[in-house]
């Protein structure tokens, strides 16, 4: 008797779940999967929830309510794949937002491609993601293929093409210098005026710096890990390389140890980013103030990219909704096409973002304008300013 009761009540429960899911089928569903581990991670989640709540309270998408389904993938591909599969096949979402780590977004792409659900990336930068050729993936952040050559382009355009390279035998440091050398050679046909690979664990770069100095370069590249970069920068002033020679470091320059430890020698060193809190545009200032007051943190590029993503997604959804037929597959296609139609979106990103129909990196790496941030003061109370932006053509770095 008891067993029958249990079976009966569970059937009832299943039926009621079914009914509610049918009732909800009319809403527009957005699924989210990204890393929400730390305090800041949760705040990204809150940003999405608050934004969607605002949409809903101001009439939703053409009067339709937006359902938000938020999952955490902890930066683990196993969870990301499961989330994508669940969102695509069980939660029946119209569009997926995700993810943070490239190693999670990468395997999500084949999943959503097979399921034919559009996905729009808030954070992952790996160029491999869009190289897979999926028509269902869109990227808001700047692709790593641009980051890889942005210093080269920025230096050549702003300082000159007479460049001296000193790098340490670490893989990343060597790659940075080599790809910079290749870029300048390809674009300008110029070889470096000086190139030296320091020895393993070497801490005194002065002999290299003196030789570099003798070549009278426009720019000096110190490519190493944090410590080596700092030493190289400081020693470059010790050997008397003038201030007018631009100092260039690889992406370690964005770590706080560089300005803190290099002190004055860090001034003028720049790094590429997707967003700078020191951005002086009114839209950026307003956003920084808003995030600070609401979530108590200074927003980095992860906040700004999520904000841009949501801002461009809303009108795209509105446009797509007009073509909704109630059939999930065709509605998803409508959303995809509508996102692919976004051109020249201007938001917090330093340049316009444009997508197009083909499933190629040219079409789907929509943001091609990293911003260069430069140290204006070193030491503990280091300061930065926006030094400028670099805009790439769609096929750069491929």
């Amino acid at each position: 008797m008891k067993k029958i009761n249990i079976i009966f009540s569970s059937l009832l429960l299943a039926a009621s779940l079914l009914v509610t899911s049918i009732a909800q089928a009319k809403d527009i569903k957005i699924g989210v999967s990204f890393r929400m581990l730390s305090d800041v991670g949760y705040k990204h989640g809150e940003l999405i929830q608050d934004t969607v709540a605002e949409w809903n309270s101001s009439g939703g998408i053409n009067g339709k309510k937006v359902d938000l389904i938020l999952y955490n993938d902890e930066c683990k591909s196993e969870k990301g794949v499961a989330n994508a599969t669940k969102l695509a096949y069980q939660d029946n979402v119209h569009v997926i937002i995700g993810s943070s780590c490239s190693s999670v977004t990468l395997p999500m792409v084949p999943v959503i491609t097979k399921a034919k659900v559009p996905q729009i990336i808030p954070h992952s930068t790996s160029s491999k993601i869009t190289l897979q050729g999926s028509e269902w993936i869109f990227r808001v952040p700047v692709s790593s293929r641009f980051y890889k050559i942005v210093q080269a382009k920025f230096t050549a355009e702003n300082a000159g093409t007479k460049i001296a390279h000193i790098y340490v035998p670490d893989q990343a440091s060597m790659d940075f210098s080599k790809s910079m050398i290749a870029y300048v050679k390809d674009e300008y046909g110029v070889d470096p005026v000086y190139e030296a690979q320091a020895g393993e664990k070497e801490t005194d770069f002065r002999s290299y710096l003196l030789k570099a100095k003798a070549t009278n370069p426009d720019a000096l590249v110190c490519s190493g890990l944090v410590d080596e970069t700092v030493r190289c920068l400081v020693q470059s002033y010790e050997v008397g390389i003038p201030k007018s020679v631009a100092r260039v470091a690889n992406s370690v320059a964005s770590k706080v140890e560089v300005p803190t430890n290099a002190g004055k020698a860090a001034v003028g060193v720049s790094y590429a980013a997707a967003f700078a809190a020191s951005d002086t545009r009114p839209i950026a200032k307003k956003f920084v103030k808003h995030i600070k007051s609401r979530y108590g943190v200074v927003p980095g590029h992860d906040f700004s990219q999520m904000e841009d993503l949501l801002t461009m997604l809303k009108p795209a959804l509105e446009k797509a909704e007009k073509r909704f037929s109630g059939d999930l597959a065709s509605d998803r296609k409508a959303v995809r096409d509508s996102i692919a139609g976004i051109t020249n979106f201007t938001g917090l990103a330093s340049g316009p973002i444009s997508f197009c129909a083909a499933g190629t990196p040219e079409c789907r790496d929509g943001n091609r304008t990293p911003v260069m941030i430069e140290y204006t003061k070193g030491g503990k109370n280091w300061k930065t300013k926006v030094a400028g932006t670099v805009t790439f053509n769609a096929s750069a770095g491929l």
Binding site: M36, A82, A88, Y89, Q90, S103, L106, K114
Partner: protein
């Protein structure tokens, strides 16, 4: 009913054939979407690992916190064989099981001298060392993982969607369970338990303690390795070092603890329940770790032998009572 049980006990293979038929039918009867198949495959993979872990931890009593490393060995054996040799699951699975078994030998050696927390530390170190090794090697495509590891093709049909892959993962799981049941119900299983309970008196009964520790480690490593390979090929066929951390290890351990350490069904029950509960609490991501921590603490406090032990106790007590009750009459 008793007669049926007796027949199953006599012909264990029959039980597995029945289970196989039921499990083959489950998707078409109960599953309403592909995600359920994906989850079912994940459950199968977790069952394999947990059943293996139950052999070494539950039955043989050897603490190991390095098993996730061996799981990674299985995954990366499969991943690398696919990447460099283009091998399919039919080749990578046995290779992964074999290589994981060799790693099992390495993990068993500290257990000859160390016990409890010290052994835990040693195995933890081993597991982490494997992950760090993978993480820092270009050979393993550490940064962006190994992608698009192929799915098997049978009679020209590629098993490349979650619903189809279930029919790969499930039989592998059943075979693993079959092996685990066979071993644990035999004299070898009893010897494992004896080693766990008291190695000195086990030795006095003629049980070679070192040999059985080694067997337990190697067997359970083979389970983990096989599971790792099945995971590597799971659509979309992607592996990355991030999936083999201590957190995954704790989850595997939680499965065995919750299901019942040293209970023959322990790892299986635990893997099913924990994977499903984890899935149901996905939207509650902020509290998930808390919920899981609480579950483990409550299990250890109030059900030290997990669900399996709890159920067992209930039936055995009842049987014992009817027996002694009959006696007193």
């Amino acid at each position: 009913m008793d007669k049926f049980k007796e027949i199953i006990r006599q012909y264990p293979f029959l039980g597995f054939i029945i289970a196989f038929i039921i499990l083959m039918l489950i998707p078409s009867v109960f599953f309403t979407d592909l995600y359920q198949s994906h989850l079912a495959s994940l459950i199968c993979i977790n069952i394999i690992v947990a059943a293996g872990l139950n052999i070494v931890k539950g039955f043989c009593g050897q603490v190991t916190v390095g098993h996730v490393g061996i799981y990674a060995v299985g995954s990366y054996t499969a991943g690398c064989m696919f990447l460099y040799l283009g091998s399919s699951l039919w080749l990578t699975l046995p290779a992964a099981i074999l290589i994981a078994g060799l790693f099992g030998v390495a993990f068993a050696i500290p257990s000859f001298r160390l016990e409890g927390p010290y052994l835990a530390l040693a195995t933890l170190g081993g597991g982490e060392a494997i992950r760090l090794f993978i993480e820092n090697g270009d050979f393993f495509m550490s940064t962006y993982g190994i992608s698009n590891i192929s799915q098997p093709v049978i009679f020209g049909v590629p098993f490349d969607t979650p619903d189809k892959y279930y029919y790969i993962a499930m039989p592998v799981m059943l075979i693993a369970i079959y092996f685990s049941f066979s071993v644990l119900r035999s004299s070898v299983g009893r010897a494992f338990m004896a080693v766990r309970e008291d190695p000195i008196s086990a030795a006095a009964s003629g049980i070679n303690v070192k040999k059985h520790k080694m067997l337990a480690f190697v067997l359970s490593a083979m389970f983990a390795g096989g599971a790792g390979a099945v995971y590597a090929h799971l659509p979309p066929g992607y592996i990355h070092p991030n999936n083999y951390t201590v957190i995954e290890m704790v989850t595997f351990l939680a499965m065995v603890v919750f299901g019942g350490l040293g209970h023959i069904w322990g790892g299986i029950i635990g893997a099913i329940i924990i994977t499903i509960v984890y899935d149901l609490t996905r939207p509650l991501y902020e509290y998930q770790l808390f919920i899981f921590g609480l579950t483990i603490v409550f299990t250890i406090l109030f059900m030290p032998k997990g669900i399996g032990g709890f159920i067992d106790k209930y039936f055995i007590d009842r049987r014992f009572k009817t027996k002694t009750g009959a006696m007193s009459k």
